[in-house]
Amino acid sequence: MILDDVISGPIAAIGVVIILYILLINSVYLVLTLVGIQHTRSQQEQEAYEPAGLINSNQFLPEIAVVVPAYNEEAVIVDSVQALLSLDYPHYEIIVVNDGSTDGTLDRLVSAYGLEQVAASVPIDVQCDGPVRDVYRSPDRDLVVIDKENSDGGKADALNAGLFFTEKPLFCAIDADSLMERDALRKVVEPFVMEPRKTVATGGTVRIANEISFERGRPASVNLPKNWLVRFQVVEYLRAFFIGRTGLDRIGSLLIISGAFGLFKTDALRAVGGYDTSCVTEDMEIVMRLHRHFIEKDKQYEMTFLSFPVVWTEAPTSVPVLASQRQRWFSGLVDTLIKYRGLLFRPKYGTIGLVALPLFLIVEMFGRLVEGIGYLFFFFGIVLGLFSIPAYLFLIVSIGYGSILTATAVYGEVLTYRQYEDPVEILLLLCFAVLENVIYRPMRALFAWQGLKNHITGDTSWGVMEREGFGENSDQ
């Protein structure tokens, strides 16, 4: 039987095409999720093996610069630095880049850590747009504060200041509002020890810290946040950033290492010119540039995603803040895909050109936009009574399939790291896996369209992130 016979006319046929596209996207995600779960389980089993004998391996661990860009972070900066100072890693320095803050960020750091101003100009060309005003050092800790003027380059410019200032071989970018687990650096550095020449970047998992209290650099207990918007983001992070990214890594298609937690070879980042200050998603852009650089230079390289080293970050708690964040992410995605369109479908670029970029183009970019049209289409279709029963059934299948996808990610979480231990919370996550398809994903699709508009109009503003701080037992 042909399509027109089961649905009422050509309008509904368009709806079916949209749904089929969404089903295709969810199928791609489902495959990635299954691959991700399988790999995460095997990684977890390997980690559970505890070798015998005492290990005095500190001498083999490379030095790391942990760079924290800070713009008006006076509420959290001292706590963030304190948490970073207690990381379980033998050789690292913390570089806070005060990016022209107009609040008391710098004063708080100077008084909290007795910082001393270095009375000489930096002898290196610190390649950032906003000039460096001063450098401060702690006399008794490996802590440096670079005080620079704010520029249009935003976070990327602040990261560049740290990147070109440091002399450490590895560079770790972390957000001021994120909390790194104490042993995260030890885990994320392992690929650099194993493959010192080839490894250029590693990334860890980012999880949501809202309403979680911390003790000794680890979450004391992980409870599902009460805020419904954050709960949607929890299931999204589980699906996309925990399991999904592991899947992408397994098929050699890792295009993003989160700006909240990534470790890079410093020389490699400098070789590609540092972060792009014109791009609002500098984390994806820099990974793309590294791929292009190493492929064009015909050099062997590796980028790895590890599901265990964890950084906890605050998720937006209100719709306007979430909208601003997601619009920026989408605008940056479009920007990066356009910038690297020359790599698309080019065999020379291997998996990146033939699989990863097309996947991001079809699934992440067009997928989100088509999803948006779909939701709008069905909303009006239902309101105006344009559809017959089969079209509704199609919609149900689509929503159900999306729910299966997210439920699979929740299943993966229960099978592997079980950050959420309480079965009641797991049940709640499953409920949100369904609700996500009718509430959260339409919102996200709308933000994608707004992001596209921002990209076209050249709006690169970051918006304002409201900080609520970590739980009251926080030891940061």
């Binding site: 083999f60 001393e116 270095v118 006399p139 392992e190 159900g400 299943y411 229960v414 231990e421 499953l430």
Partner: protein, 369 residues
């Protein structure tokens, strides 16, 4: 194509799959939570009973062990593994006695050498044998535990921990770790390699002399890093020939690692004379030059000081110049500053950082240059 009945069937299927998945997910969550609680209770019970019996002389371990439930026995095995990893000497005798009664060595030896064991089972078995200090004959190790780099590393650690029961443990362990030089080592492997080679013997140098030519770059760099951190006292200068040959390697990372590997060998005058330091100081790669400054600063004698002083002035790459200045300052040198190529900015910066690091208030600082 899409009949209404087919769509209904699809909808029901999707619903059933979601429901099944959800039930399985919640079911596993409940089961794991109950297992966690049960294991925690078992651990607390066993720990209490073990501490209570540990120092008594009249305990019949077999009776006690048979009185334990299965979760309690599992908890006891994990407790023994944990304690035996940190307790050594006579204090560990009691725990070894319990392990024997539980037949842990036999079970571990069987798992380590059984063909059907997977990698993880074999690794755990080798770890157990290591903490129990129960050697496995070299022949068995070779025939069953060479499958992966990690099992070779676990075998090498067993050889190291039971060194007195193996013939040539240094050579045996080193060969296990380096193997054919194609797979790089984990931190655990590197740590074991240091332990097997630190001090007089350093069989690694002999192994490298024979085989370094076929090793991957990653393994070469790792081996150099190990040599950088060990005291290789006995071997003669000729043992380092392969390392000097690496100065011609096409990869800068390998050349830099090679010079760093000689850091501890500055006292060998004959060897020093064979190293063309000037060529290293003129290497195209900043990485190699920086490594050389670091090594010269470590050697720190008058020859090294003189080379560093020259390099500080002739170096044109800013970061390398900074490294050279730091190296000079680490030796407390204060060279004449009237040279035409004097690195004013780098020198001032390093001095200013030194001043800030000793916690001097800003208004009391003077004469930085």
């Amino acid at each position: 194509m899409f009949t209404e009945s087919l769509l209904v069937l699809l909808s029901v299927t999707v619903f059933c799959v979601f429901l099944g998945l959800s039930i399985a997910t919640v079911g596993i969550a409940v089961w794991k939570r109950r297992a966690d609680r049960r294991n925690k209770r078992a651990l607390e019970t066993v720990q209490g009973q073990l501490f209570e019996r540990r120092d008594r002389s009249d305990v019949d371990w077999r009776d006690w062990l048979t009185s334990l439930s299965e979760p309690e026995q599992t908890a006891l095995k994990s407790l023994l593994q944990r304690y035996l990893r940190v307790i050594e000497g006579p204090k560990s005798d009691r725990y070894l006695e319990i392990a024997d009664t539980l037949a842990l060595p036999q079970a571990a030896r069987w798992k380590a050498s059984h063909d059907d064991s997977d990698q993880l089972t074999r690794l755990r078995a080798l770890a157990t044998l290591t903490v129990l200090e129960q050697p496995v004959p070299t022949r068995e190790l070779w025939s069953h535990c060479m499958g992966t780099q990690r099992t070779r590393e676990a075998s090498a650690r067993l050889v190291y921990e039971c060194a007195d029961q193996y013939e040539c443990p240094g050579v045996c362990g080193t060969e296990l770790l380096v193997w054919d030089g194609s797979e790089s080592m984990t931190i655990y492997g590197l740590d074991t390699l240091v332990k097997l080679n630190d001090g007089a013997g350093t069989p690694l140098l002999e192994v490298a002399r024979k085989s370094a030519g076929s090793w991957s770059d990653a393994v070469l760099i790792q081996v150099c890093r190990v040599l950088e951190h060990i005291r290789a006292t006995n071997p003669d200068d000729a043992s380092f020939d392969w390392l000097i040959a690496l100065f011609e390697h096409q990869q800068p990372a390998v050349r830099a690692a090679a010079i760093r590997a000689l850091k501890q060998q500055g006292w060998r005058t004959g060897l020093r004379q064979r190293i063309d330091v000037n060529a290293l100081l003129e290497d195209d790669s900043p990485q190699v030059r920086r490594a050389t400054y670091n090594v010269l600063a470590y050697w720190g004698d008058s020859d090294a000081q003189s080379l560093l002083e020259q390099a500080m002035i002739s170096e044109r790459e800013t970061r390398c110049q900074l490294a050279a200045v730091r190296a000079v300052r680490s030796l407390d040198m204060d060279p004449l500053k009237n040279h035409s190529g004097w690195p004013v900015d780098a020198w001032n910066w390093v001095r200013a950082v030194e001043t800030a690091d000793v916690d001097t208030p800003l208004d009391e600082r003077s004469g930085l240059s």
